[in-house]
Amino acid sequence: MTAEVEVLNPGIFSSVQDLGRFGFMAYGVSESGVMDSYAAQLANLLLKNPKDAAVLEVTLLGPKLQFSDFATIAITGGDLSPQINGKQVENNHILQLEAGDILSFGKRNIGCRAYLAIAGGFLTEKVFNSRSWYDGITSYCKLEKGMKLPYINSEQKEGSGHSSVKPGEYLTTSSIEAFPGPEFFLLEEQQKRQLQIQPFHIGKNNNRMGIQLADPLNNSLKPILTGPVLPGTVQLTPSGTLIVLMKDGQTTGGYPRILQLTEAGINSMAQKVMGDKIQFFLYDKEM
């Protein structure tokens, strides 16, 4: 039986995401999908969902949602003070909701983005084989007040209420793992060193398309002939700005690609907010 989650308050930026669109990059369609795939997959794992079940990704200040029926949920990723009917609940636990229960979020404690998974997944539309919301592709690109998200109401299971996991330190680490990018070798030795030693700070432009770093890396690199870019590609502009492309980033670009983050690097970046300090940890060929 299909139930609905009603959006009483959409929060700063919430959207339905799964693991993204695969096979449409040739048409210029971004990969999209959850910014922190570790957290999202953990939430689905807790609920024994398929790993590509759609979740709700919430940012900084989360939404206020009312569930029309029974629901089994889990919240992972950043600690954004989730509450059920005003009472504080824990991340990384299976939570049972009754009909009419209200889930809301409060103060941001750690991280940037949290993931709300529901047993059976959110059953919103699929476009190009994915439920990930993206402007121009899906009908909606972000939660708005009054929206209703369909789900399958799930009966409470005996003894499943206490499953929980403790995730690793990736939420708070400042170390961002990366491989050298295709144009890394064009940097001077001094710049390569600086890139690995210097701490960088997250700038104010931080969204699903990309995250700009506040500290420049001076360089005299020429633009490249437009080439493919991916989530996790770190571009360097002539003015020295480092841009970490994320899940809604374009598929091609003309700025030198000096780093390519690992999956873990992308997951950690997804949890950074303005002012956070990061340091790149470069993997070399032997690893």
């Binding site: 210029g28 002939l225 991916l230 091609t252 999956e263």
Partner: protein, 243 residues
């Protein structure tokens, strides 16, 4: 393949083949042929392969177990001497209205290069443009073949909103904005054709290797085609292209 410079990992889920960086039709043909060949050999792994001017990117749905082993295998595969040239290219006829309501920067361009509006339109519609790849936005085609006389630098300050279908020129490139978007190109016309339709299979009718010819149309013809596109009754004219 003498144009192949190297094959390198691009993160955990992709491998990049770099060719000599240049915008060249022969190179494009070789790259597209190699792409078909690799898709055929790697199909079981369900990869996606895209090209740009001088690269091929092989993208996997999840982290590659032994990426350097994969790269070794790829290097061996690519060494195969004879990759048949890909066939099946098409020429698409794209209607463009260069009327002043759409040609926002026509006067600027005319002042810059000293050509009349008619001469500009003539030079813009003469070539058979090559579609190199799609990127930047869904359905945004990177075209080669712009007449050098029409080159002009991008706007210092990009427009916050360029109309859907706007046909523009930026440096040595020309193209069409498939949807309303911020943009820095000099706009000289508008095409009512839909270059990206999420409900169509495939969503873009035009792909890498195809050719495009622009045809000037009147305001009236523009409106007719526009309506037809909205009613889903429009089909873009095309024919097979034998090089």
């Amino acid at each position: 393949m003498e144009d192949l410079v190297d094959i390198v990992p691009m993160g955990e889920k992709a491998i990049l083949l770099n060719f000599q960086p240049r915008i060249n039709e022969e190179l494009l043909e070789k790259i597209l042929s190699l792409k078909s060949f690799l898709l055929d050999k790697l199909l079981k792994e369900e990869v996606e392969i895209i090209n740009t001017y001088s690269s091929l990117l092989i993208k996997y749905p999840s982290p590659i177990k032994d990426i350097y082993g994969q790269i070794s295998s790829l290097k061996k595969l690519v060494k195969v001497a004879n990759i048949p040239l890909k066939t099946g290219k098409k020429i698409f006829h794209v209607p463009v209205c260069y009327d002043e309501q759409f040609a926002l920067d026509m006067e600027l361009l005319s002042n810059y290069n000293g050509l009349s509006r008619e001469e500009i339109i003539s030079l813009h519609t003469a070539p058979l443009y090559t579609v190199y790849f799609t990127g930047f936005l869904p359905g945004f085609l990177y075209l080669g073949g712009l007449n050098k006389t029409l080159q002009i630098s991008r706007k210092e300050q990009p427009r916050l909103k360029v109309k859907k279908g706007a046909v523009g020129i930026g440096e040595n490139q020309t193209g069409i904005y498939p949807k309303a978007s911020p943009g820095g190109w000099q706009i000289i016309g508008n095409s009512p054709v839909q270059f990206f339709n999420k409900n169509a299979v495939p969503p873009c009718p035009i792909s890498a290797g195809d050719k495009i010819k622009f045809h000037p149309i009147s305001n009236k013809e523009y409106e007719e085609i526009f309506r037809s596109v909205e009613e889903n009754t429009f089909t873009i004219k095309w024919e097979d292209y034998d090089s």
